[in-house]
Amino acid sequence: MGNNKIILYAAILAITVIAPFVFPAFGTQLATLWLMIIVALTWDMTGGQMGYNSLGNIFFYGTGMYVAAAVTIGMVYDVGEYTSAHGGGITSFTDQQYFTGMFVGILAAGVFCSVCAVVIGYLTFGLRGPYFAIGTLGVAIAAGELVSNWDWIGGGQGIALPVYPGDLDEGKVFFYFLFALTGVAVFLFCRWLYQTRFGAAINAIRDDEEKADAMGIHTLRYKLVTWSMAAFFVGIAGGISAFQLIHFEPLETAYQTINLGIFMVVCVLLGGKGTLWGPVIGASLFHVFKEVTWNYFLGWQWVALGALIVVTVVYFKDGVMGYLLHTKPEWFGVKIDQKASEETS
């Protein structure tokens, strides 16, 4: 690792730590930015590095939310009674119950989601290309519809979690750091993973699955493991979101297929598919764009977002990283032999 890189990483880390104190008014937005980075990075694990474009990763986000909520509540009360008394008042949690519940709930969300990924992946990984995308989208939509008809966990009304005990601003900073911690962990994990033999194997699957199979890579096993790792982190992010949002309902917040479910894909495409930094850059750009349109073009924000998706996909498909790689190859350590290129031209 070069000196410049260490400085870069240190600067980003410093910004991460001081950001919520410098911009206290944007605490929630900053937390959402980290959420976007997490889901974009995890989407890129399968979409960019393995070539399996899932449109259903939002399933793990929603499931993570519900598992975290159900586990936390289930440790203290009966979940069915709690949800049927919705707004009726049995919501007292002691500090200790809240924090242990949160820890166990978020962890359970991650584990449950990776198990789900293995099961769903086993059924859907035979589908290739667009069929996989549509199939996973179907899983996410179906799950949302089923959960919104399931009264035990609140049905279409959703479910309400206890509020963060203590000061409201303190709570914002707390959730910001939970997201940031997860985000940094995901980033470092991906950085390590893509350098290993495992990373090379999933890249081989992306480039030519039949050939990879013939070379002795057990493709299904690799695909399942990759997706379940991605699902683990998305589930954790969902669990944290559940506590941050306090109240959530199935169709618009948990299984928000056309919001976050499609945003994560756009983030990755905007930043550059199949690169380590692409999802991070893309998520940051996209989040800024989204907040600006939401604030200044209210009513037209969805039109603007749809247009952004279309323009990104159609005219700018390599993303920022792809563009930089093309115009500034020396930044990525690609040496161009000036003499040779002059001779040929």
Binding site: G126, G129, P130, A133, G135, E145, N149, V303, L308, V310
Partner: protein, 303 residues
């Protein structure tokens, strides 16, 4: 659970109810089949999977609804929607689709998904988020002691769908452009070598698809309801039908469309109307799984 069992019991107690559900399903399914045929056309000719299919349907419905609000006769809405959506389809083709044809399939899928979000939201801004329908004012026919009711409006809708389908089939079979489209679907490169302007064929095919969807939507607004965000469900239904029937298999598309319509009505009867969207999606997963299992058999032979 008891309610579900009760609903199933009802089907056996009054077998005539089955008949009613099937008739309802077939009437709606005919319209699903129209949209699915458009999807199969685009998919087969230019290898683009159009996720905005359902939004074309809804947009066509709103064209018809808008005309009725302004005092035009409702039946005029179908040709009007056909023409307007033809124009919109052409614009969409020129701006977006023409640039994703050569790319991989996920690109077209995502581009049309973005398009779908945009269209749904524009419709929402223009017409509001209420469900709308057009009442033709015809009476309803009753059979079997009132257990079976067939609104004449629905009958007209089915007949119009059949006329439209027949027109498109005759056009594809006998006209010069239809032949060019079929030739391009078989082998675009060979068609180009033989002097067919494939770019024009693509533009024509996509516009035709949008127009068919628009006309289907104009019929749907007469026999059912539309709402700006119902588009995605229609898209999914079209995908279910095409995936189940396969490309270029017109009788299959019609049969699958009618079948999906009937299955959805059964599902809505047994599980309640709240599950209608979930049922459409579950059918998609089911069809994909069945296809997958069929392919697994082929792979085992290879081993």
């Amino acid at each position: 659970m008891d309610q579900i069992l009760g609903n199933i019991g009802l089907l056996f107690e009054f077998p005539i109810v089955n008949f009613k559900i099937v008739i309802d399903g077939i009437m709606i399914g005919a319209l699903f089949a129209l949209a699915a045929y458009g999807l199969a056309l685009v998919w087969g000719v230019m290898n683009v999977k159009n996720l905005a299919q359902g939004d074309f349907v809804i947009a066509g419905g709103y064209v018809s609804w808008w005309l009725v609000q302004h005092g035009f006769p409702a039946l005029l809405g179908v040709p009007a929607a056909f023409i307007v959506m033809w124009g919109i389809g052409w614009v969409v083709y020129k701006l977006v689709i023409s640039r994703v044809i050569e790319r991989d399939l996920f690109t077209s899928l995502l581009a049309t998904f973005g398009l779908a979000i945009m269209m749904a939201q524009i419709l929402n801004l223009l017409f509001g988020s209420d469900t709308q329908s057009v009442d033709l004012g015809y009476e309803t026919l009753y059979f079997a002691d009132g257990l079976i009711d067939i609104p004449i409006a629905k009958l007209i809708g089915v007949i119009m769908a059949a006329i439209l389908a027949a027109g498109v089939i005759i056009f594809m079979k006998s006209s010069r452009m239809g032949q060019a489209i079929r030739a391009t679907a078989q082998d675009a490169r060979a068609a180009r070598v033989l002097g067919i302007d494939t770019e024009k064929v693509y533009a024509f095919t996509f516009s035709l698809n949008a127009a068919i969807c628009g006309a289907a939507g104009a019929i749907i607004v007469m026999v059912w309801v539309i709402q700006p965000f119902y588009g995605i469900t229609h898209s999914i239904r079209a995908f279910v039908i095409v995936t189940a029937a396969g490309l270029g298999n017109l009788p299959g598309v019609i049969a699958a469309g009618l079948g999906i319509g009937a299955l959805e009505q059964y599902g809505a009867h047994i599980f309640g109307i709240g599950y209608q969207q979930a049922i459409a999606v579950m059918l998609l997963l089911l069809v994909l799984l069945i296809r997958l299992i069929q392919q697994l058999r082929v792979r085992q032979v290879l081993k």
